[in-house]
């Protein structure tokens, strides 16, 4: 009781713990039973935390699938596959482009507006966020290649620098084209003319652009 009073007193901090250690008030068994009760209390609290609706949804929807996928992932340790799985379509496209243009190639990056407009109707996220827009996120995967952006102000000079570019075919799919002839350069210039240097980082801004464009 004396000890209990002490916790209420002002001098708790100055209380000498050594004196307590030498003669504990409770038997080892009593402490063990109390620790078991605290274990039950802890289990109860963890269970309550788990059963709260928002937590439960999150655990079932996110954490459990993450945990379950570890087993399969351990069987699949090939780094190339891991990259493909995480970065998806855009990574494959970057890799494909890199191989095609080769180490000496210079890729002319088409205007975003062109890509968004011509590929309109396909998955906009693939076009904008994931890399059709050919953003520098994926340049690291073909570090030896060079990239130039199409520019409305001096189209001829940037086209002259490039060896390859991407255009969108009738199926709304990206196609690589070589810029080795005068004719191919003229065709590409015609395709890209009229699109500004505007960049879309999110799908929402691209969608706004399309709405604006359709209005006119």
């Amino acid at each position: 009781m004396a000890a209990q009073k002490n916790t209420r007193g002002k001098n708790t901090k100055r209380h000498d713990p050594a004196s307590n250690k030498s003669k504990p008030k409770r038997s080892a068994l009593s402490t063990l039973i109390r620790q078991m009760l605290l274990t039950l209390l802890s289990i109860g609290l963890v269970w309550i935390m788990y059963s709260l609706p928002s937590n439960k949804d999150w655990i079932i929807e996110r954490v459990v699938p993450y945990f379950n996928s570890v087993d399969d992932q351990m069987k699949q340790m090939d780094t190339e596959k891991r990259r493909q799985e995480r970065l998806g379509y855009s990574y494959q496209m970057s890799k494909w482009l890199c191989e095609k243009i080769g180490s000496e190639g210079v890729l002319l990056v088409p205007p975003h507006e062109y890509l968004v407009e011509k590929a309109n109707g396909t998955n906009l996220t693939n076009v904008v966020y994931h890399g059709w827009a050919l953003n520098p996120r994926y340049y690291g995967y073909c570090p030896h290649a060079r990239f130039v952006n199409y520019s409305e102000t001096n189209p001829d000079s940037v086209i002259a620098l490039a060896t390859h570019t991407v255009f969108i075919d009738e199926m709304k799919q990206p196609q690589l084209v070589s810029l080795n002839t005068e004719q191919s350069r003229t065709t590409i210039k015609q395709q890209f003319t009229g699109f500004t240097d505007q960049i879309f980082i999110t799908d929402a801004t691209a969608r706004d652009y399309l709405i604006q464009r359709n209005r006119h």
């Binding site: 916790t7 802890s42 709260l52 999150w58 953003n135």
Partner: protein
Amino acid sequence: MAGILLVLLQCLLGYCILVAVRPTIQSLLQAILLSCIIGMGSSTMLFFFLELLTISLTTISLFILHGIVIIAFGVYFYVRRVRIRDLTFPLGKFPRIYEFVWIIPILILLFISAWRTYYYPPYSFDTTLGPDLVATYTVLEGHINNSVYSELNPHSNYHSTQTYYAPFVMLMQSMFRIAGWEFGQTWLAILTVAFFLYLYTYFRSQIHPILAGLMVLTVLITPELFAYTFILQTDFSNAVFFCIGAIFFSRFLSQERGADLIFAILAMSLACWTRTETIFFIPAGALLLFLRYYRMSMRKALSTSVAFLVVPALAVILWNVVFVGFYLPETSSVIKNFLFDFNNLWSRATVYLKDMIDKVYGQDEYWSYTTHFFIAVSLPCVIYSIYKKDFKGFSFIYWAVFMWMMFILLLLFIPAVNVDNTFRRGYFKIIFLMYCFLATCGLMKYLSQRLHYWETGLVLSPDEKT
């Protein structure tokens, strides 16, 4: 193999710093966890000096540098006649049985996070366009100042700010990629595990283990925060360094050990090294130090507060002024840092505040019950503290309030800062601070003492536990 050696060298570097500074550390486990975190931060600084000296960044230069610094620490300890006893820390107590009920779910969550970090490459937009891109080219070219700055950025229409701030993540990515980790980001897993376990041991040293477990688990199951323990971004690492800085700052305020203040300054500098805008939150600490000491001794007031302000500022200057200004090529894309628009300040500020509450604070899918739980528990804690006139842990609340206000100022004057991203992820810092407050406030300490007495019959104050 080289990758694991790098991790070990970084931990050893951190450990040397801990032994040299000797901040308040309760157990060997805590010392090891802190060495992992601080070792990483200090290691990026060392690595950066190689770049400043334009030495090629390779596996060999990386290991020689770490080796030299660690040997230098060894020589320093020998010259200062540091005894073997002072090179170690107390072993600490083995967890009691009921603690495992908390530790196991925490470890499972940390395992999931660590595994995903290791298994997948970095994929967040900001990172792949910023730090990780620079790191990829650093491996190829051997310099941070590489073709990302000279070729890609000038020729890209993406006027991204990502490659111009956040040196910590960029340097960690570079080091880990150089040392042979395929995707680099494994360090984030080490940082996450070390930090949450440290947080548990710290909370446990303050309050009863059950309460400590409850709090750490509540923080860890915050959906948004948990996601960023495996999605590589700058904000989580920033929050980690800031939280450690705030913990040692609070320790200094309660125990007045200079070593704790030095360590807090180091951690805060690393927080600024992780994200530049953190420097705007640092004056809160400097102000508190000044107000605390100016009546007692003007000299002490000035020296502590100036040190607290200047050292983190040096970290910012080192990157943002010295490196970006003198080393990197000039960019055509002028990133507008400040926009001093003083029109309708008050109405704009209230709109921002409303946005912060609606879009971030009130979003249950981000924070689940973490914020509600804090509000519910902190109210009685604050009332108890006022009633008892015992303001333990209030420095954490002070930091959080100051930070919230400073965010409004940043939103008003810096165009790159926004509520949806900057504040949402900046909120991680506030969450850590909120729970550090709960773990150190008077009411929780009182409850812990009662619980401890009920359990053992001993009146050990939790402060005395190891």
